[in-house]
């Protein structure tokens, strides 16, 4: 009842936009960058929230920074909010309030894959689009932005390790816990890649630091003592990274055993500087915030398209000036360009789960991994 009323209100409000749309689709053939910029400014403003796991974490703040840079251009009134501690219940309270505040799109990195599902389903029923990023709620969202494909980060890591150790070497992995889904997927990806390309590399052990820096440190020290021929160690959890580097520093093994991990560079600056950390892989968090906003806009346009904007076939890589064309055919859109938010390349919306990359249905993989080394780590503020 309420839903149809809201939809009607939106529809009426959209007539102006629809007229603009028709004008736009007429010019798409010759659409160039300045034209699309003016087109986006005519888009109706939508209320979008970005709800990360908690406030104050550098990577999420970097997402926010990126989102803020493009929000205005995309006609987005952005709210960045989160619980003070990483609690799923705290996020649920925020979602509940956002439903009451008639947000158009909620984007979130969830603290739990199931707990927020009922309230996010309630939001979707109320006509709100839900886009998850970084950590998914598979049963209650329109789209999920996965950070990076499992196989690409796995191969990037192993390539870097092999360059340091040579083709025959003992290596070890430092993970978080034995049941951590993403870490295990990365480990599988690394093993697969090693089997294919560098059969001389041997993973001698996998240590678990329980996502605690001090535990990671002592587990890593144990591994270094136990395997005197170890050539490299791979910490793949954001607490294992500083823990492992600290262990190498303590035992005066900095630079003798290679240290290649997955995590943000800022909190490990000291270890880049002292040579106990060779490289970290992550993705550009600022760009991720930008893509999150673009996906929020696309999700909204896809669901709330004015019927006047009908195009038989959606363009392959629709830019914002072509959103009109995808409004009613959104389900068929398979890829879109990141150009409107300054991101290179196109993004593909997965139609079915993919075991190799880790994508589930309606997932967009954000990025190939970005490598942080001694040469560039100071450039990144997350």
């Amino acid at each position: 009842m309420k839903r149809t009323k809201t939809a009607q209100r939106r529809l009426v409000g959209k007539i102006g936009a629809a007229v603009a749309c028709l004008a736009m689709s007429a010019t798409t053939a010759i659409a160039v960058a300045p034209a699309s910029a003016s087109a986006t400014s005519r888009l109706p403003t939508i209320k979008v929230s970005m709800v990360p796991k908690l406030l104050g974490l550098a990577v999420f703040e970097a997402n926010d920074q990126g989102a803020k840079q493009v929000a205005k251009k995309l006609g987005i009134d952005l709210t960045y909010t989160a619980p003070a501690t990483a609690s799923a219940e705290g996020q649920v309270a925020i979602f509940k309030a956002e439903i009451a505040q008639h947000y158009n799109v909620i984007t979130t990195s969830s603290n739990d894959p199931t707990v927020p599902a009922p309230v996010l389903q309630e939001a979707m029923k109320a006509g709100i689009q839900v886009v998850t990023y970084d950590s998914d709620v598979p049963s209650a969202r329109d789209f999920f932005m996965q950070d990076t494909a499992y196989n690409t980060i796995g191969s990037a890591l192993i390539d870097a390790v092999e360059k340091f150790t040579g083709p025959k070497a003992q290596i070890a992995i430092m993970s978080s816990t034995a049941d951590a889904t993403i870490q295990n997927a990365w480990i599988t990806a690394m093993k697969t890649y090693i089997a294919q390309k560098y059969p001389g590399l041997k993973i001698v052990t996998i240590g678990y630091g329980q996502s605690i820096e001090s535990v990671s440190l002592s587990v890593a020290e144990g591994i270094i003592h136990a395997y005197p021929h170890l050539k490299a160690i791979i910490p793949i959890d954001s607490n294992a990274v500083p823990g492992t580097a600290a262990a190498l520093t303590d035992l005066h093994m900095a630079g003798k055993i290679g240290d290649f991990g997955i995590g943000p560079p800022k909190e490990s600056r000291a270890y880049f500087a002292n040579g106990s950390l060779q490289a970290l892989f992550l993705w550009d968090e600022i760009g991720q915030g930008k893509l999150d906003m673009l996906m929020a806009r696309l999700a909204y346009e896809g669901a709330h398209g004015a019927p006047e904007c009908t195009a038989k076939t959606p363009p392959a890589n629709p830019t914002p000036s072509q959103w009109c064309g995808i409004r009613t055919n959104y389900a068929k859109v398979q890829s879109f360009s990141g150009a409107s938010v300054g991101l290179p390349g196109t993004y593909t919306v997965s139609a079915a789960p993919n075991k190799v990359t880790g994508a589930t249905k309606n997932t967009v993989i954000y990025s190939t991994p970005l490598e942080f080394t001694k040469a560039n780590y100071l450039r990144y503020n997350f």
């Binding site: 406030l55 003070a84 799923a88 705290g90 649920v92 009451a100 599902a117």
Partner: protein, 359 residues
């Protein structure tokens, strides 16, 4: 309340009557204050926050689904705090209860039977707390600090790597997100439980005993209250209510998690204190606690809907708590109860107990 607590038992010292009367009046006045604050708060949100007003009656009532679990824990916690004790294990008990229910259900046991079994486990947990406090005389603060970790660890162990979710629809509707007309099922359940607990404290000999134990344990003993048994049972009831909160939490989120109750403990204690229950026991009314559940809950939800961040909301709640307690002390002062006296009552009870037989 203290007046009604002493006289029906027939052994209250006559000299105490006037003071007890003032205490009763203070309590009534505080309940009225909380009620006025609640009405004022709702009025403010309805006038000043359009999104809050637009929710309508059913939407506003629906917000209560977010904080009634805290309320259930607060009801049990209030019983224990009235006796002058405290239970820090309630949050962990909620997690444990939800996880036990979910795990049993996953093993193929009927969900309702699983609920009953989880509540029995909760009662046992409360009994363990009560046993250590009454039989071994360990301070409840320490006992429940310890059992908190035990319950939490057991919950983690039972829950395993992937705690169950997606419970049967009927359960989720009844315990979680369903409603009768505009009234959420959770609110109906809470109302029923709250009325029962309120009657228990305000209208029964047992309840008067609870308050008297908190007021003066020795006097309670002389008044014929079975102190040990009453204390023990208050922990059991508190455990069951915390367990019930865990069931409702699991229903509402449609998922059980081993740490889901952790965030409920401190808000629950806040509610009890805001409701006018003396943290040292012996004073307070359940009606105040019940109103405080809604006062704190709507304050939180309203601020979020107003567009405040959850950090601001928490900060405002802290300020409100401190201001309310200052207001309460000011009101109590005017009514003639001095801080020194309440401290004496708390810490000087042994001496007074020694004197009492002669009076």
């Amino acid at each position: 309340m203290s007046l009604s607590a002493t006289s029906p038992l027939g052994t209250g010292p006559a000299a105490k009557a006037p003071r007890a009367q003032t205490a009763g009046r203070q309590e009534a006045r505080w309940v009225a204050t909380v009620a006025v604050l609640l009405v004022a708060l709702l009025a403010y949100f309805c006038i000043a926050v359009p999104d809050f007003r637009d929710l309508g009656v059913s939407g506003i009532l629906g917000l209560s689904e977010q904080f009634l679990f805290t309320g259930l824990i607060a009801l049990g916690e209030a019983l224990v705090i009235l006796t002058g004790e405290i239970d820090l294990s309630t949050g962990a008990m909620s997690s444990l209860s939800g996880i036990v229910m979910a795990a049993l259900w996953q093993q193929g046991i009927n969900i309702w039977l699983a609920v009953v079994l989880a509540l029995i486990i909760s009662a046992l947990g409360g009994a363990i707390n009560g046993l250590f406090v009454t039989r071994f005389g360990i301070a409840s603060l320490l006992v429940t600090l310890g059992t908190q970790f035990i319950f939490g660890s057991v919950a983690t162990a039972v829950g395993g790597n992937a705690p169950p979710y997606n419970f049967p629809k009927a359960f989720v509707r009844l315990a979680g997100t369903g409603s009768v007309g505009p009234i959420p099922n959770e609110l109906i359940s809470f109302a029923v439980i709250a009325v029962v607990v309120w009657l228990l404290v305000a209208r029964t000999r047992y309840g008067r005993g609870l308050v008297l134990i908190g007021y003066n344990r020795a006097a309670a003993r002389y008044a014929g209250v079975n102190v040990q048994r009453t204390l023990f049972s208050s922990f059991v009831i508190c455990g069951v209510l915390a367990g019930a909160a865990g069931i409702f939490v699991s229903g509402y989120y449609n998922a059980a998690r081993d740490d889901i109750g952790n965030s409920l403990l401190l808000p629950a204690i806040t509610v009890v204190v805001l409701g006018g229950v003396d943290i040292f026991g012996g004073k307070g009314r359940m009606s105040g606690v019940i109103l405080a559940v809604f006062l704190l809950g709507f304050l939180d939800q309203g601020l979020l809907i107003r567009g405040n961040s959850s950090l601001t909301a928490t900060m405002v709640e802290g300020i409100v708590l401190v201001l309310c307690l200052m207001l309460k002390i000011a009101l109590d002062r005017r009514a003639g109860v001095r801080l020194k006296e309440s401290l004496q009552r708390r810490f000087g009870s042994a001496r007074r107990a020694a004197v009492l037989p002669d009076t």
